[in-house]
Amino acid sequence: MSEERLRSLFVQSLAGDEQAYRQFLSELTALLRAFLRRRLARLPDQVEDLVQEILIAVHNQRQTYAPEQPLTPWVYAIARYKIIDLLRRRSRSDLLHDPIDDDAELFTTADAEVAEARFDVAKLLRALPDRQRLPIWYVKIEGATVADTAVRTGMSVSAVKIGIHRGLKALAATIRNTA
C-alpha cells in the first residue's frame, strides 16, 4: 500500500526534488521505527540509533536503487543488513560486558534518549574537521542553501557538497563504531 506512494516520492527525490525527499524520509522514518520496535523488542534503546543509521545508509546508497525495481525489497534489504550488523556487533561486545550495566539501564528509556539525540548530533559533529562540520551544520541543520553556505564559509560550492558527503559518511562510521 505504501510502496506506490513511497516509491514515487523516492523517484522524485532521486531527480533532486527536495520537498519530496523530505516527505519520503519522514514517512520512511515512521515506518522504520515501527518495524524496528517490533523486531528489536528486547533492545528498545537501540531503535533510534538504528533508524538513523538506516536513513543515512539509504541516503548514501541511493545510487544503487534502480527506478524500475520495487522500493520495498531495496529498503528492506538495507534495514536487514543494518540489523544483522548491529546484532553481530552486540554479540561480540556482549562478551566483554559486565551484567551490572543492566541496573543502570533500568532508568534510561528510549524516549528520553530521543531528546538526547540532538545533543549527540552536535557532539558527533564537533569531531569533524571544519570543512565537513560547517557545511553539514549550515545546510543540513540550519537549512541554508549550498550556495549560501559557500558564501558564508568561503568555500567553493563543490567543496561544500564534498564536505557534506564525506562528513555524513564519517558520521555513519562513527555511529556504527560506537553503537
Binding site: S13, L14, A77, V139
Partner: protein, 205 residues
C-alpha cells in the same frame, strides 16, 4: 536534515564505476600478459581451430555471467536468479566436452590431454593476471551496497578470475577441453575463494 540541498542522482553513476574499473583492470592484465608472459606466437594459427574459439567463449561466458551476478549482488534487495545455474551450465558444458575428448583416447594421450605442458603453472598465472581485476572488482563493490558480503566477494573474485583466464588465454598454448575444464577453473577459483574470505572484511558499509 538529509533532505536539505539534495542533489539529483545520476542514474549512470553505477555503470560508470563498472566501466572505469573494468577498463583499468583489463588494461593492466593485458599489459602484464603481453609484456612479460608474451602473446602466444601460434595465436594466428589458432584462429582456425574450433577449440580456440570454444575456450575463448568459455572464459567470456563465465566473465559475463559473473559480472551480471556482481551487478545484482551490489544492489540491496536484488535476487541472483539464474546466475548460479548459468555458471554451472557453462562449467558442465566444458566437462562434457572433456569427457568426449578423453573417452576414445589412449592412456598416454589422456595424460597429455589433462596435464598438457603447463598444468603446474596455469592456475597460478591466471590468479596472478586476475589480481588487478580482483582489486578493481572489489573497488566497484566497495562503492556500492552489497548485503551478502561473502557472496559478493566471491562473485567479484569469480568475475576477476574468469576475465583473467580470458586474458591469459592469449598466452596459453593449451587447447584441450580436459585441461581447460580443470586448470582454468582452478585458476578462477583461487580469487573466488579469496574474495569470499575477504568480503566480510573489505565490503562492510
Amino acid at each position: 536534515m538529509l533532505a536539505a540541498g539534495v542533489e539529483p542522482v545520476d542514474p549512470r553513476q553505477m555503470a560508470r564505476r563498472f566501466r572505469l574499473a573494468l577498463a583499468t583492470g583489463t588494461l593492466i592484465a593485458v599489459a602484464f600478459t603481453a609484456g612479460i608472459l608474451r602473446l602466444n606466437p601460434a595465436l594466428a594459427r589458432y584462429l582456425s581451430e574450433p577449440m580456440f574459439w570454444i575456450r575463448e567463449a568459455y572464459c567470456a561466458a563465465l566473465s559475463g555471467i559473473a559480472l551480471l551476478g556482481m551487478h545484482r549482488l551490489a544492489r540491496p534487495g536484488r535476487r541472483l536468479g539464474l546466475v548460479p545455474a548459468a555458471l554451472a551450465l557453462v562449467v558442465i558444458a566444458m566437462w562434457v566436452l572433456a569427457v568426449v575428448a578423453l573417452a576414445p583416447a589412449s592412456p598416454q594421450l589422456r595424460t597429455r590431454l589433462v596435464l598438457g605442458a603447463t598444468a603446474a603453472v596455469c592456475p597460478f598465472l591466471i590468479a596472478l593476471i586476475a589480481a588487478p581485476l580482483f582489486v578493481a572488482h572489489l573497488w566497484i563493490m566497495r562503492g556500492l551496497a552489497p548485503t551478502r558480503l561473502p557472496l559478493a566477494g566471491a562473485a567479484a573474485g569469480f568475475a576477476a578470475g574468469s576475465m583473467g583466464a580470458l586474458v591469459y588465454s592469449l598466452h596459453c598454448p593449451e587447447l584441450a577441453a580436459p585441461f581447460i575444464g580443470i586448470w582454468y577453473l582452478s585458476g578462477i577459483l583461487i580469487p573466488t575463494m579469496l574474495g569470499a574470505w575477504l568480503g566480510p572484511w573489505l565490503l562492510r558499509w
